[in-house]
């Protein structure tokens, strides 16, 4: 179908011709869904893989009006896809599942789904799904829709039209925004550089790495509590960016930070246990998360660069970049990390390394503040943690990033008052050793659960964490499996301290778990994490998983190196885990497109962990949501 044709169809006969993207790994259901949708006269595109769906959506957000996705998919959890689509493309997403448990439905809604259908789906239900598109559009651009400015948007009038739309949209948005700056999720962002907007969607702002970085810098400057869109906009000084765009992005960022915080809290707990509470580490995690946000945008460069070098400064660099982007309110990621990085020095006990992590700008100022405090405390612990990590990793202390330890601490601290020990146990789990893994797994699970719900933050970020615990459970005997779960959790940690991981490896087994996780995240994020690679292989496929998790986005993020290695292992763990290069990472619900760099991965892990916790919480079982996680990791 040509865009023009679709557009004209849409314009005239909506909902006829509405462009739907249907995702379901079950071919029978997919065929049925496709046929039903065509019967409703929608314009249907189908795919059986979530990663393909994401790819299609990222190629051109304006090609689709609505996404329908199954919840249980091997390559990526449906909720994760839901989050990503919501964050990146802001399209309405309808969830589909054979399972109608209230908890799942709730989860679907809290993750941003605009509807939840049960299989087998009936045509009557599908005949009305267009309402979600209209509702969203109407809410965002009421006037524009009616006035037909959209026409301009999608004709190839180009910039002018877009600009016009943007302005119009901006104005519209402003009106609504004035009421509540913060609640901007529904709004489509104006697209500066998007392609022709879809007929009914305004051009979206593409939050590139640089743009996000500016955003985060501005937020940090203002202070997370005082960061209001208007001021941020002024500080950013970007042409054609409207306050609404910023407000919308800010909201997402805050959610992201929240997740990171929770994750950080968890980690902090873990770190506490591990003994490496480095707030900076946490921050890194958060940074990563943010990074991920942008990473998707393709800023793996940053990551890679940062991680590869992983020199003390290097680490920071990495952290800074992504972190900076994502975290508002947090000290410039780079800053924090840098400081710590230097400290890292190369000892396993180098807590300071962790310190450099900047806790992702969780919306809670506490986190940041909390982190430093915890960090301090954790620092001491970090040493231990680092040691552990060292064990896991290739005993390259110098590179070890105590991040994991601190990260955990930081996170936990930030998020809640979770006892660090709890968190650490999780990290322990991450360890590759089976025994430990076993132990850890249980700890992790418990911790995770605890962590997850303590903060009460959306755990989407930490989805990856959850899986970790699950995995641990599933295959206690299977180190690999265990590793995976750990990775999940560790992911957070790892993200922050991929480097640390190596270093810490030697020292602490249990920390290694943590490290593993972090490493995983790191690894996944950057191919750069070479040092992690070896560790990964040994320790757990999880790492790979985590990595994958983090780099949901562009395949470039996911560095196959670590992942591949573990691939075999990981796969063993979860039947559903499919490692695909480039698509690893079942990213926990990222607020934005995180840059899957190490940092990002950690954050992702964190998010994933958080998420899992949430998920798990819903499941109300000790299993931290590993299951969910597992699914996520499948995206590997």
């Amino acid at each position: 179908m040509t865009v023009e044709r679709v557009i004209s169809e849409k314009k005239d006969q909506f909902p006829i011709g509405m462009r739907v993207l249907a995702v379901d790994d079950d071919p029978t259901c997919l065929l049925l869904l496709e046929t039903l949708l065509r019967r409703c006269q929608y314009n249907v595109t189908i795919t059986s893989q979530a990663v393909t769906a994401l790819k299609l959506l990222r190629e051109n957000k304006n090609n689709f009006d609505l996404v329908i996705s199954d919840v249980h998919m091997p390559d990526m959890d449906g909720f994760k896809l839901l989050e990503l689509v919501g964050l990146e493309m802001d399209l309405p997403v309808i969830m589909l599942s054979a399972n109608g448990d209230t908890k799942l439905v709730m989860k679907g809604i809290t993750h941003g789904g605009c509807d939840y259908l049960l299989k087998p789906v009936r045509i009557e239900e599908l005949q009305n799904i267009w309402q979600h598109v209209v509702r969203r559009k109407k809410f965002d651009r009421k006037d524009r829709y009616n006035s037909g400015s959209q026409d301009k948007a999608y004709t190839d009038s180009g910039e002018a039209a877009r600009m016009g739309n943007v302005d119009q949209n901006g104005k519209l948005n402003k009106k609504r925004k004035d009421q509540n700056e913060e609640e901007d999720e529904e709004r489509d962002e104006n697209g500066h550089d998007s392609e022709d907007p879809s007929t009914q969607k305004e051009p979206r702002v593409v939050w590139s790495v640089e743009l996000h970085h500016k955003f985060v810098t501005a937020v940090k400057q203002l202070g997370i509590d005082k960061a209001v869109p208007k001021k941020i906009l002024e500080l950013m000084n970007v042409e054609k960016l409207t306050r609404e765009n910023v407000a919308s992005h800010l909201q997402k960022y805050r959610l992201y930070l929240k997740r990171i915080t929770c994750l950080a809290n968890q980690q902090a707990n873990m770190a506490a246990a591990v003994g490496s509470a480095d707030s900076t580490y946490l921050r890194m995690g958060s940074l990563n998360g943010l990074g991920n946000f942008h990473t998707l945008a393709g800023s793996d460069q940053l990551r890679n660069a940062a991680f590869r070098s992983f020199p003390p400064g290097g680490v920071l660099g990495r952290l800074n970049t992504p972190a900076g982007l994502g975290m508002h309110g947090l000290p410039s990621p780079g800053m924090i990390q840098l400081n710590h990085v230097q400290n890292l020095g190369n000892t396993n006990n180098d807590q300071s390394k962790l310190q450099s992590f900047v806790i992702p700008g969780n919306h809670n100022a506490n986190i940041l503040q909390g982190m430093p405090m915890s960090l301090e405390l954790d620092q001491l612990q970090n040493n231990k943690g680092v040691n552990h990590i060292g064990e896991l990793s290739t005993a390259d202390n110098s590179t070890v990033f105590p991040v994991s330890g601190s990260l955990i601490n930081a996170r936990t601290t930030g998020c809640s008052d979770n006892p660090l020990p709890g968190v650490t146990s999780n990290s322990l789990m991450l360890e590759g050793s089976s025994q430990q893994a076993t132990l850890h797994a249980s700890n992790l699970r418990d911790s995770v659960s605890a962590m997850g719900f303590k903060s009460g933050n959306p755990l989407s970020h930490f989805t990856s964490m959850a899986p970790a615990s699950d995995q641990l459970q599933d295959s206690k005997a299977d180190l690999q499996s265990q590793a995976s779960p750990i990775s999940c959790n560790a992911g957070q940690i790892i993200r922050n301290a991929p480097q640390e991981w190596n270093a810490a490896r030697k020292d602490a087994t249990y920390q290694s778990n943590v490290m593993c996780c972090s490493i995983n995240s790191s690894i996944s994020v950057n191919g750069a994490m070479d040092h992690l690679g070896p560790c990964l292989d040994q320790n757990n496929p999880i790492f790979q998983r985590n990595i994958d998790l983090d780099s949901i986005g562009p395949s470039n993020f996911v560095d196959p190196l670590s992942i591949k290695r573990c691939e075999g292992e990981n796969l063993a763990m979860e039947p559903s885990v499919t490692q695909k290069e480039g698509y690893f990472v079942v990213q926990p619900r990222l607020q934005g497109s995180y840059i899957p760099d190490n940092i990002g991965s950690l954050e992702d892990l964190a998010s994933a962990m958080m998420k899992r916790e949430q998920d798990k919480g819903e499941a109300a079982d000790g299993n931290f949501g590993c299951n969910a996680y597992s699914r996520r990791t499948n995206c590997i």
Binding site: D25, D26, P27, T28, C29, L31, L32, T35, L36, R39, D70, H72, S97, A98, N99, K119, P120, R122, I123, D470, Q473, D474, P575, S576, N627
Partner: protein, 150 residues
Amino acid sequence: MERNPMRRQLAVMRQSLFDQGYLDEQFVQLEELQDDANPNFVEEVVTLYYRDSARLILNVEQALERKPFDFNKLDGYMHQFKGSSSSIGAKKVKAESTLFREYCKSGNGEGCMRTFQQLKKEYATLRKKLEAYFQLARQAGPMETACHPK
């Protein structure tokens, strides 16, 4: 001419599938989607189902050979299987898979195994019946799909 008795026979066969609980309302939905543009839709979907679900059945079998049982995994497979079974309206098969999942949730390995055997039986029986049904439908020639049971 010849078609009429065949069509009648086809209608009877179809009705009995519903009456005996092999198929449910969802199957009717499939039939409704069949039209000139999609003349063999129902058969296509059913064929696809049996092809794809064979894999799941195999996975479950293999999983049941490994002790101790990984109930989570089993549940996962069955969840998927249930989803596709319900999409074609395989009523009895779906019921067995629901039961299987219950046993998984309660960690009842024995129950799982028993239910799985029953499930496979229903699965095979339905397949035979549907194959016979489609064959007859083809012989009866292109005709409107059987009327709804209602």
